[in-house]
């Protein structure tokens, strides 16, 4: 029986502690009036610790899909549809996006990054299924910077611990060459420029394989190599009419962008072909140059395995290397530092005054009020 309590109704001091459904109550034993009610919690100290919690720190985030995430998932599906990917790709890409969104670093990232993340998820899905999608294509579609894309992509691969295979070169050749508008006559494509798709595709593939074997592909962006190879393949199929066509003109007719490194890749590929031609007796006498070798690309490709082995057995393009002798410095780090050496780095008082005057003049000039 607690002391000091009076029932407000009847004034009795007979107050009994009773619990009603685990809620403790103070009840007057005379009239049955409930004086005080307990709280539906365990202890008083617990209640004292209760505070308002922000949404980001509650579990509410995990229980519903935020609007930002919903937007992102919608963008992933849209991108898959724009690229006309098979339907299974969509689900995988969505799953990657959701997985990435579980990480706080991604959730708190800027919208620009979240936008680029959409592209990264689609790219990873395509790479894992050998679908030849280049980063350049995605960046163009998303209006994104390649630098931002690359940073987000590397971060995502590390975060999710993924093993992303390299771009499949053969598939890229097929897709890229099929996009060339050279297989039907049109106002921009004269009759002599029209080519059979299968022939051009097979020859381009062989030239790209040759480039890969002779070290023209490793470390370089794959697309310019394929452009150069496609150009040579196309030229060699009807050299008499097409030798006069330049690489730029070819890309324009085919309605394809000319990537900048393609011209250097073209020169390198021609140099390789010339080296191979030197191994064939009946071509050696012809004294071929970079233009005339195009006519014989068919022959060279037919025997490419033996020719490459013969032409490059003693090493590839060895340049006399000047090995720089390592300069051995005898610095210990504890030498004396002379005062004169340090003083050369300090301004004289006159210089300081001049500098301050110049600074003041400069500031005055920039803050001159506009003349009325």
């Amino acid at each position: 029986m607690p002391g000091g309590g009076r029932c407000p109704d009847c004034g009795s001091t007979e107050l009994v502690e009773d619990s009603h459904y685990s809620q403790s109550q103070l009840v007057c034993s005379d009239c049955g009036c409930v004086v005080t009610e307990g709280v539906l919690t365990t202890t008083f100290s617990d209640e004292g610790n209760l505070r308002e919690v922000t949404y980001s720190r509650s579990t509410g985030e995990n229980e519903q899909v935020s609007r930002s995430e919903q937007r992102g998932l919608r963008r992933v599906r849209d991108l898959c549809r724009v690229l006309q990917l098979p339907p299974t790709f969509e689900d995988t890409a969505v799953a990657y996006y959701q997985k990435a969104y579980r990480h706080s670093g991604i959730r708190a990232a800027r919208l620009q990054k979240k936008e680029v993340l959409v592209g990264c998820c689609v790219l990873i899905t395509c790479r894992q299924r050998n679908w030849p999608l280049t980063m350049g294509t995605i960046c163009t579609l998303l209006y994104a910077d390649l630098d931002v894309f690359s940073g987000t992509y590397m971060q995502l691969v590390k975060l999710l611990g993924l093993d992303v295979p390299s771009l499949c070169l053969a598939e890229l050749v097929k897709t890229y060459c099929s996009s060339f508008k050279l297989f039907q006559a049109s106002p921009s494509v004269p009759a002599k420029y029209v080519e059979d798709k299968e022939k051009m595709l097979s020859r381009t593939l062989q030239l790209v394989e040759l480039a890969d074997e002779t070290w023209l592909v490793t470390g370089r962006h794959p697309l310019p190599v394929i452009t150069a190879a496609a150009f040579l393949a196309w030229q060699s199929l009807q050299p008499s009419y097409r030798l006069s066509c330049s690489l730029a003109r070819f890309c324009k007719s085919a309605n394809v962008d000319l990537p900048h490194p393609a011209s250097s890749r073209l020169q390198e590929l021609l140099a390789v072909l010339l080296r191979m031609a030197k191994q064939l007796a009946w071509l050696q006498v012809l004294k071929l140059d970079k233009r005339s070798v195009v006519k014989h690309i068919g022959d060279l490709l037919q025997h490419r395995h033996t020719l490459v082995r013969a032409a490059f057995q003693d090493g590839m393009g060895k340049r006399p290397r000047i090995c720089p002798t390592p300069t051995v410095s005898t610095v210990t780090g504890d030498e004396n530092i002379s005062d004169s050496e340090i003083e050369q780095y300090l301004r004289t008082p006159q210089e300081i005054r001049d500098f301050q005057r110049a600074q003041a003049a400069g500031q005055a000039a920039t803050s001159v009020p506009n003349p009325p």
């Binding site: 280049t134 980063m135 350049g136 390649l146 690359s150 992509y153 590397m154 691969v157 093993d163 390299s166 771009l167 074997e213 070290w215 490793t218 470390g219 370089r220 962006h221 794959p222 490459v308 082995r309 490059f312 057995q313 003693d314 090493g315 590839m316 060895k318 006399p320 290397r321 090995c323 390592p326 300069t327 410095s329 610095v331 210990t332 780090g333 504890d334 030498e335 530092i337 050496e341 340090i342 003083e343 050369q344 780095y345 300090l346 301004r347 210089e351 300081i352 500098f355 301050q356």
Partner: protein, 322 residues
């Protein structure tokens, strides 16, 4: 005894393989001792062959030598039989026997002794005929030493600094607070750059060795002292070391990323090199198709050397085979 040509018998075995050699193979310096790797100097030859391939070539050439000698022996035997056909049979027997014995003797001297007067066309003429291959070629060190290119270090000058004063009174300082909240100071010897913050902390970059970095940091501290601040030289620490070297053969990066996928990242659309994150020691290597390797992330020099010795056998596995 009459021979086919005017060359003495011990040199005859040499002459023919020369024709079999494809011209243009660079000459390996005969002074390079077998199995080197202990001399800390880059290989001074201009060829792109590694030591292992040299050994293989030596073995092939010695095998060619052997074959040539056998052919020579057969030819000489036939000659002798023709020459002695007209002589008495008893003399024939002894002569043939002695001829064969002398040939065997010659062939033995060919194989084991160094060849006087013969130009050093073959690498390391001291190599024995039965090649003693090293127990595990992989355990040989590469003989290439990475060169340090950059050292980043930090030091605490131990007092608050007024950057405006420093920028005003020092010739070699630039200070643009809107762009970066530190003074950028440069000295000529050792050629380095320092970032000096108002808290008194300083970052020194550009030195080529640990000692140079320490000397440069001391010089910067001295400059700040002379500008009127009570600068000290506390907690000097090397934070990062960058080294580079050349393995001198091209590397198939696509192959390397396939087999060492958990450490490598190779995206030719983004960067021409392969980024290899080694676990032990914790170093990041940038490997390029030309064979140049950049190593970074080391706190001590030994980590760079260790990382390179770890990667070299892996890279040798991916050099071209054509």
């Amino acid at each position: 005894m009459d021979q086919n040509n005017s060359l003495p018998p011990y040199a005859q075995g040499l002459a023919s393989p020369q024709g079999a050699m494809t011209p243009g193979i660079p000459i390996f310096s005969p002074m390079m001792p077998y199995g080197t790797g202990l001399t800390p100097q880059p290989i001074q030859n201009t060829s792109s062959l590694s030591i292992l391939e040299e050994q293989q070539r030596q073995q092939q050439q010695q095998q060619q030598q052997q074959q040539q000698q056998q052919q020579q022996q057969q030819q000489q035997q036939q000659q002798q039989q023709q020459a002695t056909a007209q002589q008495a049979t008893s003399q024939q027997a002894t002569q043939v026997a002695s001829g064969q014995a002398s040939q065997l003797f010659h062939s033995q001297t060919l194989t084991t002794a160094p060849l006087p007067g013969a130009t050093p066309l073959y690498p390391s003429p001291l190599t024995p005929m039965t090649p003693i291959t090293p127990a595990t070629p992989a355990s040989e060190s590469s003989g290439i030493v990475p060169q340090l290119q950059n050292i980043v270090s930090t030091v605490n000058l131990g007092c608050k600094l007024d950057l405006k004063t420093i920028a005003l009174r020092a010739r070699n300082a630039e200070y643009n607070p809107k762009r970066f909240a530190a003074v950028i100071m440069r000295i000529r010897e050792p050629r380095t750059t320092a970032l000096i913050f108002s808290s008194g902390k300083m970052v020194c970059t550009g030195a080529k060795s640990e000692e140079q970095s320490r000397l440069a940091a001391r010089k910067y501290a001295r400059v700040v002292q002379k500008l009127g601040f009570p600068a000290k030289f506390l907690d000097f620490k090397i934070q990062n070391m960058v080294g580079s070297c050349d393995v001198k053969f091209p590397i198939r990066l696509e192959g390397l990323v396939l087999t060492h996928q958990q450490f490598s990242s190779y995206e030719p659309e983004l960067f021409p090199g392969l980024i290899y994150r080694m676990i032990k020691p914790r170093i990041v290597l940038l490997i390029f198709v030309s064979g140049k390797v950049v190593l970074t992330g080391a706190k001590v020099r030994a980590e760079i050397y260790e990382a390179f010795e770890n990667i070299y056998p892996i890279l040798k596995g991916f050099r071209k085979t054509t």
